[in-house]
């Protein structure tokens, strides 16, 4: 699965997620990606999220909209993302990752699997990582 979230100079947010699905899935199996609120969600009043991971687990907790719910309650992008992932892990033992932005341009990349390749471009700086805790930067 791959995904992106963005905030443009007018403060509009958007998300996009695309996937081949799960290895050796049954023919016709549909995962979280095309399901609104699961594979992604975007609302200028809250923020935008793109998710990746075990689709059947993500759908059970409606992960993208759950994270934005926490942000509506005042949580930061990072805390809301961690709360959503923790809910998925504790309720359905699900593994996954998310990228999240808010309309002010705060962003995060969080995951409870061992790895997730991510990158962020902001103020002419490129941030990126693969393993938990990694956050490298270079000029764009």
């Amino acid at each position: 699965t791959v995904g992106a979230v963005a905030v443009d100079s007018e403060g509009n947010v958007a998300c996009a997620t695309s996937t081949g699905g799960i290895l050796n899935k049954m023919e016709g199996r549909v995962g979280d990606t095309p399901c609104i609120g699961c594979g992604g969600y975007a609302d200028n009043q809250i923020g935008a999220v793109s998710t990746t991971g075990h689709g059947e687990a993500i759908m059970k907790v409606v992960l993208a909209r759950l994270i934005l719910f926490h942000m509506e309650q005042g949580q930061s992008v990072e805390a809301a993302s961690d709360l959503g992932l923790a809910c998925m892990k504790s309720r359905v033992a699900g593994l996954g990752g998310v990228i999240t932005v808010d309309p002010q341009g705060h962003w995060t990349a969080r995951f409870n699997s061992l790895q997730m390749a991510w990158a962020a471009a902001q103020s002419d700086t490129l941030h990126y990582g693969l393993y938990a805790g990694e956050r490298f930067t270079q000029s764009i």
Binding site: T1, A14, A16, T19, T52, A121
Partner: protein, 166 residues
């Protein structure tokens, strides 16, 4: 703080020998999305551009490089959503399309539906002039190898793909 674009290449197991390709792929996709924003493009333009780049990169499980289903075929899903209008578009189990994310955007822009699936999505693509590609062009040696590896009776495809908990 604005503009900003963030991309991911998928959570789960990335073998060491593929980690370089994954990192360089997400970095170039983020740069491409950011260039769209700096050129005055919308956040929707930016995320579609970034994800299209990742779909065209065989290192990632989307577009070219998608994992195979149990029959050895490629069926893809994609979703877009616009925060300004709450507009959204999706395709599911679509085949023979190089950039499903661009088809999902067409569903949002050209129909009043949220999602088109399977043959209906393919028929919509044809009506929009989106070219179909041979399935072979979407399959990599690596995805075929993983498919074969997970046909064994005791295989665990989800664990193979997601790896261990972090």
């Amino acid at each position: 703080m604005l503009p900003v674009v963030v991309v991911h290449g998928g959570a789960g197991h990335v073998p060491r020998e593929r980690s370089e390709m994954s990192i360089s792929g997400v970095c170039s996709a983020a740069r491409a999305g950011y260039a769209v924003l700096q050129g005055g493009g919308s956040s929707m333009d930016a995320v579609v551009e970034a994800v299209s780049q990742l779909e065209n990169n065989p290192s990632f499980n989307a577009g070219c490089g998608s994992v195979l289903n149990i029959n050895g075929d490629v069926e893809m899903d994609a979703f877009v959503m616009d925060g300004k209008t709450l507009g959204n578009g999706a395709v599911s189990t679509v085949r023979n399309i190089a950039n499903p994310i661009q088809l999902a955007r067409l569903v949002m822009d050209k129909t009043n539906h949220a999602c088109l699936t399977a043959e209906g999505a393919n028929r919509f693509a044809r009506s929009m002039g989106v070219p179909e590609v041979p399935q072979e062009s979407l399959i990599t040696e690596y995805s075929r190898w993983r498919w074969k590896q997970n046909l064994e009776p005791d295989a665990n495809p989800v664990e193979c793909q997601m790896g261990k908990m972090g």
